[in-house]
Amino acid sequence: MVELVPSLLRQELNRLAAEGQRIDGRGHFDVRDVHLEVDCLYNAEGSAKVVWGDTIIYAGVKFEIRTPWPDRPAQGSLMCGAELRPVAHRKYEPGPPSPESIELGRVVDRGIRESGCIDMGELCIVPGEKVWGVMIDIHVLSDGGNIFDAAGLAAIAALRTAVVPAERFDVGEDHTLKVNGTPIMASFKRAGGRFVYDPREEEELGGDERIHITLGDEGHLHSLQKGLKGVFTPEEFAEILAVAEQKCSELRKMVAEKEGN
């Protein structure tokens, strides 16, 4: 039965695609409503809530002081993790982190880390002795599809509004974390044979491969990931990369606006 639904759904997605349609009436590169809220959680040093269609994700930033790695005595560290807990959907089960949640956390982590937006040298307090460890935790509360883009948005927005809690650790005055850039992820999913942007839950069930592209402020690629079964051609990739540039710009503007508030 679990098997049946996807195959019927796949037929329907194919039918819709043939007519240039999509299950919720969107065009194939249209995005759903996205709401972003920042600085919304007591105890987190930076936080963001993203409501993206039926998907709801929180991200929170915490700091700790640690001793640096011997081979990088003047560099702090950044870590981004994600939990896909049973709260988020009927399909998620309790237990150790699933491959899905590990992939989610690592893809978001690479996008932020590789954009270079955090200068690890700036996280040094006393070389060889004390550096900041920055930890971004992504908490998915409701999975209505495309959790990758929503998680990436929540993570960078939380990071960009984070305050380094130096006073609590007795190492100076609190100050905002310096973040040089706003890497944004855009995800595409094959549904009904072609790629669509921002898949909703049903499109993820019935579809095939998924491509995640994280772009920096200059439009450079910082992270790529292909997930799920399926293949794509270089031509298909060129098309969605162009779409990604435009989509990422729009979301980057949304982050900037929230910071202004």
Partner: protein, 242 residues
């Protein structure tokens, strides 16, 4: 209870550090139906605590060995988000969260009409997004509203509420500092219609008289919170914005 410092928790005017009277609760807001993916859900803010509960089910209970022939099992997970506390918490269950999950589940089993759903399972997920003392109570309140939002029949709701003792004085609803430096904490789950107790924990030091006073405060506060719970469900069902 911590109780290891000389921290002043009562002001000279008899009020508490945040200006509350001795028998005054922190503000509570509740919204039902906040999570689109869940069958029922609720968000409770209680002071600076933020607790979200999601309900899934009733669904088939598997593996088979957890099934009960005559009733549904209630599977509760209480979890604190890594960023919910002063120092980050490593993800995954710890002993504290396992204990709270167990006694919360047993409390909810006391009010849910589990015999209506033999061999099935009802999943209750409680997520603490921000913690400022009192998260297990906020979680119980959120779970009750989420169960009602999911249409699960119950013989009563459970209201989570706590009183405690600071500077030898019984007070209602400890906040973070009062919890850290106070002398006792008495979190309970009260059935608002009957006054019965479905959840009870306590630690610290209370004489029998102090216990009785703390419970009196708890019963009074439970009535107030119950009104907010009912109001949230009304807004949800009377076409309010969810």
């Amino acid at each position: 209870m911590g109780g290891y410092g000389d921290v002043k928790l009562l002001r000279e005017d008899g009020k508490r550090l945040d200006g509350r009277a001795i028998d005054e609760m922190r503000p509570v807001t509740i919204e039902a139906g906040v999570l689109p993916a869940a069958d029922g859900s609720a968000m409770v803010t209680h002071g600076l605590n933020v607790a979200v509960a999601a309900v899934y089910g009733p669904m088939e209970a598997h593996p088979r060995k957890i099934q009960r022939q005559d009733r549904a099992v209630i599977d509760v997970r209480y979890n604190m988000a890594p960023f919910s506390t002063g120092d980050r918490i490593r993800p995954g269950f710890n002993r504290r969260s396992r204990e709270i999950s167990k006694v919360t589940a047993e409390s909810l089993e006391s009010v849910v009409l589990v015999e209506r759903y033999p061999r099935s399972k009802i999943r209750v997920e409680i997520e603490i997004l921000a913690a400022e003392a009192g998260t297990r109570c906020a979680g119980i309140t959120a779970a009750s509203v989420a169960l009602a939002d999911a249409g699960i029949p119950m013989r009563d709701m459970i209201v989570g509420v706590a009183s405690g003792k600071i500077e030898d004085t019984v007070v209602l609803d400890l906040d973070k500092a009062e919890d850290n430096y106070g002398q006792a904490d008495l979190p309970v789950g009260i059935l608002p219609n009957t006054g019965e107790i479905a959840f009870l924990q306590m630690d610290g030091d209370l004489s029998v008289e102090e216990y009785n006073l703390a419970m009196e405060y708890n019963h009074k506060a439970a009535k107030e919170i119950h009104e907010v719970m009912v109001d949230a469900l009304k807004r949800r069902y009377e076409g309010g914005e969810a």
